[in-house]
Subunit: 193 residues, 2 copies
DNA sequence: AAAAAACGTTGTACTAGGTCAATGGAAATC
DNA sequence: GATTTCCATTGACCTAGTACAACGTTTTTT
């Protein structure tokens, strides 16, 4: 159950066996079945989740009831509403499972204990945050300067695995376009004319 | 020259006088006059800059020559192309001064020295990165779910200071709309009909 | 102080992408 | 294995935002 977490952390910092054994105790394992949720809008986000297995999505729902997908999280990714997690404010985001999933939850208090007792983890989280920040900067650039067609081409190139695992209308939602329009883009590519 | 930096860091971690004195030596002060640049597209981003005074923008230029503003950085903000800074790849981003500015530059090697010698700074950067990440998540939400009019209303509410200091077409660029359309939005609000 | 550049506004025409609804096929669910 | 729900596609029509250009003002530069 902790295999991927172990490898994932080892990629950035090296922990002793004792340190990892201690670190494990700070996570709460949780299985989440497809269509069940980890976080509901209005609730406070109590933990950040590491995905050992499965696939989740984080999204908001606008006034018209339309979903806007902020993130897909397959194996080895972290998912949460960091704003709510850190401030304790109610979240405007929902998170739920697209496939049966196995998660490792890290609650706020345990996060603090972890970084105090294993200072290397401070470094781990700094680097992880850096990568997340860079990824979202890239997405902002894309939103500002690319057409729907370009965004889709980049998406299938960057996340071929996700393309296989989620329905097309969710990719449209992630890209900020309607499912109908994404279908037309695909039609254009398949039979140009 | 280091006043704002000192206060800025003190807000998140407390350093001894000795620590801060050492930390100061790791920054390179730089004055940048209006319209001059800190980073050109194609170059590698060698340092992250803390703004002591003035105002800068980071932006990309697309194939048609249109600018897309990724960030404004007034006093107390950090600005860089983090991706290029960390990977050493050439940047696709330009950074230049909108007002005469005073910067404190932190080069990659000095950053490493800093976090090794003052572990508290690891924490400082983790938290700063968290805040940056949260801010860009908010911007992504906005791009996915808000109309141009809503984005503009939020912008003037969130960054009243920036609104005073930069020309309107740059706000349009930041919001991902054309200057002409922003002008129409403003006209609508002023003389509805 | 003059000249030049940058800026905001507005008109007309246009287009990328949205809306709504119908259809058939594929998956989940029971 | 039947039924229901979910999903992708397509057509007809619509609209938020774009493109381009002209004009007057303000700001910069010299």
């Amino acid at each position: 159950m902790y295999d991927r977490l172990h490898q994932h952390i080892s990629r950035l910092v090296s922990l002793t066996d004792d340190e990892f054994a201690f670190l494990k105790t700070l996570f709460i394992p949780k299985k989440l079945r497809r269509k069940h949720d980890l976080l509901q809008a209005g609730d406070v986000c109590k933990s950040i989740a590491f995905v050992e297995k499965g696939l989740l999505k984080a999204y908001t729902v606008d006034a018209k009831g339309v979903e806007h997908i902020l993130q897909f999280a397959p194996e080895d990714w972290w998912i949460s509403d960091l704003y709510s997690y850190l401030t304790g404010e109610p979240s405007d985001t929902q998170i739920d499972a697209l496939e049966d999933s196995e998660l490792l939850l890290l609650e706020r208090g345990n996060m603090d204990i972890m970084v105090e007792n294993i200072p290397k983890m401070e470094r781990f989280f700094r680097i992880t945050l850096q990568n997340n920040y860079i990824a979202s900067q890239r997405r902002i650039k894309s939103a500002l300067s690319q057409s729907a067609e370009e965004k889709y081409a980049d998406f299938i190139h960057r996340y071929p695995d996700i393309v296989q695992r989620v329905p097309q209308h969710m990719i449209a939602s992630y890209l900020g376009i309607t499912p109908a329009f994404l279908s037309r883009i695909r039609g254009r590519k398949a039979h140009p004319d």
